[in-house]
Symmetry: C2
């Protein structure tokens, strides 16, 4: 039987990792790529370099649109390596018949978000394809950042670190899901889509020792923790009751049987911070209104290396695995 690509291979979960490893890493292999960080570190550790294509549907949703998302997504990947976003490229693929006015709204959102990162678009590409060749508009942004804080790596997490999360989780995934399904929640549910560089800059300026940072996009917090557990050969133990989840996201999870830890975020990051600096990091994050729920969610042990354990508030334990199967496609 001919093997074909499945939606599960593009969801940020286990099958996605397998496709990336088998097809792309095998062909392109090199030391930088194999580090599997949020952004590549190049030019003797001076620059970070990262790419993302955005295919989100719907294009406009509560809290953001594809334009804001396209800038946040790439700038956040740079920030996660301790880099200040500096230069971006922007490549758009537009379907014939797309409204110019909508394009202008999207481009203006990009402009606003660039300003928050003090970054500029220096090169671009525009393709228009016939109806049916693309669903409305896809945007690729690729960015170069200047590394302000060296040594951030998801390969170096140890028992000296605590695991933190920057805010309540799952809002982006839940927002896209309800928008897609036409569910009017009459609620305050909105995407967390946001530029994280200001928070990272504040952490760096405060002098806390940062081991690793990763924004919990596709695959959610579960994917990040599992990647870290594997990359650093550690066990991560998280306390379920400490993981902040908004009432709106909780409601959707209960109704639909989702796990908040599997839902995508676009302005929420997981941190591995030196034990002695964890309280200070929380204090720094709490100065940002969007990070007012930042907290410690877990610790690093050697109990089950390469696995993540979730301690429930009922006293039970279970493994928290990388999400598998067909999660929501076109989340970002």
């Amino acid at each position: 039987m001919t093997k074909t690509i499945t939606l599960a291979q593009g969801n940020g979960g286990a099958e996605n990792n397998e496709l990336i490893t088998k097809v792309f890493y095998n062909a392109f292999k090199n030391e930088i790529l194999e580090k599997s960080e949020d952004a590549a570190v190049i030019e003797n550790g001076k620059l970070a370099f990262s790419t993302d294509s955005f295919t989100v549907s719907p294009l406009f949703f509560n809290g953001a649109n594809i334009g804001k998302l396209a800038i946040c997504g790439t700038c956040n990947d740079l920030a996660m390596m301790g880099a200040k976003p500096k230069y971006l490229t922007c490549s758009v693929i537009i379907e014939e018949g797309f409204e110019v006015e909508q394009l202008e709204i999207i481009v203006n959102s990009m402009k606003e978000e660039l300003a928050k990162n003090e970054a500029i678009i220096v090169s671009g590409d525009t393709k228009v394809v016939p109806r049916g060749a693309v669903d409305k508009i896809f945007i690729n942004t690729t960015g170069i950042g200047e590394i302000l804080y060296s040594g951030i790596s998801s390969n170096n997490i140890s028992e000296d670190d605590l695991i933190l999360v920057s805010r309540d989780i799952g809002a982006h995934g839940a927002t896209i899901f309800t928008a897609r399904e036409g569910m009017d929640m009459h609620s305050n549910l909105k995407s967390d889509c946001n530029s994280l560089y200001p928070q990272v800059k504040a952490l760096i300026d405060s002098g806390v020792k940062i081991t690793a940072l990763r924004d919990a996009t596709r695959g959610g917090v579960s994917a990040v923790l599992n990647e870290w557990a594997k990359q650093s050969n550690i066990c991560i133990e998280v306390e379920e009751e400490n993981i902040p989840v908004s009432d709106e996201v909780k409601g959707i999870c209960e109704m639909l049987g989702f796990e908040a830890t599997n839902l995508a975020n676009e302005g929420t990051f997981v941190l591995a911070i030196s034990k002695e600096d964890a309280a200070k990091a929380i204090e720094v994050l709490h100065k940002f209104v969007e990070a007012k729920n930042a907290c410690i969610i877990g610790k690093v042990t050697q109990q089950y290396p390469q696995r993540v354990i979730l301690n429930s508030s009922w006293g039970t334990k279970r493994f928290l695995d990388t999400p598998t199967g067909e999660l929501l496609p076109r989340i970002c």
Copy 2:
């Protein structure tokens, strides 16, 4: 009436330029972007940075496939700024159901072409979208190059320069057209798709004075010459009989009423070279089998600033304009 995006706005011609200027440049404006070079020059002139999304249809055609094209396209843009392609990102958007085997062929072509540029992929992104959201596969590549020869700019061309072309023109556009229309030409027609860095490196090593280089992709040689005439405020006069066109491309142009100068190329570049070094540049290019037809095609005057004049072999003159209207979409 609601204004919508047209195919003509994505063809590399006049309407494309207008869309880019009005919507993107207006929002993102900055000095680097406004230079409108093939690649942005950043980090105090040390690095070049360029992006391209590839949406070519069909994916496989005589001479190349979307994978080879995706590496050549971005590496060539870097080479056109006198840069050695160094680090690339690769972001793919794949339609659910796409055959893994086809993906592997594409990725292997990318690998082979990267080797010719001595460049590596350091970061990537994979999105899988449901059937109908994308036509098979789109690839974005974004590259960073190390500038080996400074000062290349399409804003500095003067009467001291001659205009050269590196090989016979129009092969890529003609190949895609015949493949798309199911025309079996029983001919040697194949895309010129090729990495240009080796030719540029040889030119740099030879010590010739290079004023400007540009690969003649969408919009063909006509678009490049018109961009240069405007950017440098000069008149470019080209001799029609000196422009190399293969018999296969000539045949297709005659049959279908195309102009070879408007057809896309993916391994052909236009050069503005100091008069005293033009012969030497030709000599260097002739060492490459693919550039055996490299020749001088025109000169720079002040007769009609910002316009391009085509002197026909019949002794008549006419303006060669930027192509307008609906050229072939999805050429690259």
